[in-house]
Assembly symmetry: C2
Homo-oligomer: 339 residues x 2
Amino acid sequence: MEARTEISSLGEFGLIKKINEGFKTSLPETVCGIGDDAAVIDLDTNYGLLTTDMLLEGVHFDLTFFPLKHLGYKAIAVNISDIAAMNGIPKQVTVSLALSNRFSVEAVDELYAGIHAACRDYNVDLVGGDTSSSRSGLLISVSVFGQVKKDLITYRNTAKANDILCVTGDLGGAYLGLQLLEREKQVFLANPNMQPELEGNDYVIQRQLRPEARMDVVYELAEAGVLPTAMIDLSDGLASDLLHLCAQSQVGAIVYEERLPIDDHTFLAATELNISPITAALNGGEDYELLFTISQDAYELVKNNPKITVIGYVTDNKEEIVLHTKGDNRVPITAQGWS
Amino acid sequence: MEARTEISSLGEFGLIKKINEGFKTSLPETVCGIGDDAAVIDLDTNYGLLTTDMLLEGVHFDLTFFPLKHLGYKAIAVNISDIAAMNGIPKQVTVSLALSNRFSVEAVDELYAGIHAACRDYNVDLVGGDTSSSRSGLLISVSVFGQVKKDLITYRNTAKANDILCVTGDLGGAYLGLQLLEREKQVFLANPNMQPELEGNDYVIQRQLRPEARMDVVYELAEAGVLPTAMIDLSDGLASDLLHLCAQSQVGAIVYEERLPIDDHTFLAATELNISPITAALNGGEDYELLFTISQDAYELVKNNPKITVIGYVTDNKEEIVLHTKGDNRVPITAQGWS
């Protein structure tokens, strides 16, 4: 009998690691392959950046509460976020769609209305893709090509001890928005006459349904003359993405609980859902904020930017990636992938 | 009641046309968006080329007869073929996978063995992608980035009257290979003790399961100093792709039935399946050969290349795209998309 190893026994990150181990890049133009937010390609004057992501109905989104227009927007924004994390400027996108016959032309129009809106907002051109039929709902695969000046690129693996750890925006909202939407779906399924109780939770729901890539911060940092020493986008959650950044940079980090930026609406939603707001901020994914490090010299240049919060600093002890709690304890930060 | 228009009422090409009408590119770097085999991006010294394609189980492939290793290879090769059609050199690829829990780690290894083999054969680097779970089988989305010197790019819309129409390799095999595999699947489903009768049909089955992008011809044309006046790859079939090339170039074409390159094995398989070999050559897709036009001056430079066949010529009558039959009749060439 042939061996059969379940993918679940490796988990998502284990599988990706196994796949990547078998393969080395060989072209001189390939500066960086798998392992960062985007691949890096030498184009002589600039670096080219290439990233791709696939969203599947029933896995990554639920159309019972996700409007198609928002979905189209999000599919573009989350890929742009990977380019932002390299300090790059997104330029061109391709979109491949697969649709079951449940979807009408009007539904496709809605989806593209969101795709086009995102292309306008981020000033990127939709340059290709294809459309095919699917036997199980909706699939969207997006690729983005961007560029960055060679001396402005930011990797994940270049954070240094004593650098300051910064995050944009606020955390945990997108996760709580999803929990609320899931809760209302269950209520509706149990009793279709019930109206959804989402009042007062617009903010966190917006964080889930309409995330934005932080290109605004990329531009503001450039204007302020700040070049992050390392950067990653927060798709999996602060904990998981900080662990990636630290592992690749071979550094440790101390994050101060009291510094975690959490919006008041996120606190309220957390209370309503009986979820710790700190857990939501650390382990809730899909905020698509940027986590980056700067040298201490640069602190003066970011401290007055309301979009940026200093949450801790980098250490040379790569065994220690910890949360410094309000009670002055230090607890290890651990990640969650899927398995 | 809201309007609902079925996608089937537009068809594949109608839907793509409708989607594209709503959107113009705006960046000066975007030389060519949707409408050719790949998008074209101005990189100062060269053009960048970007193309993407998604393959879905049950729609584009059937794993009851498609080995995973071959599938991985094909997913790369068909995208490389789009770069070849722009006369470009493929450089980097990304692969996004989604898998249901039916698939084991060993199955993923097989798929990647094919992906890696194709990357080696075409000298491209696998630089990114992701892996996620799927609720319905296997999905593969591939994007390829390539480059081409600005004065060597070949578009679809630049064929001129009196140009010579050329095709690489031979036609119709991949389609007949698929028909044979489908037939044996039905036989097997009806009686699982039957052995498949594929003897003598290795060639056409190979054409279906292991297509190659014609990078060899791209290099040979460059060495011979031949720059095609227009080029497209044959994914949908000669008829459909010739119609694209003619429509975009605003020209007509005459194709000689007796010149269509059809392998002896393709003739035999066509006879066995009771399918006209001419129909297979014209309307059978997935051969991934190149269809291109050259100026008459260049004829001497290609005529002795055994990989290239002259099949006709371009005319200035865009209303007339015809097959000149062996019986000296002229019949309009018509396309088939999905609907």
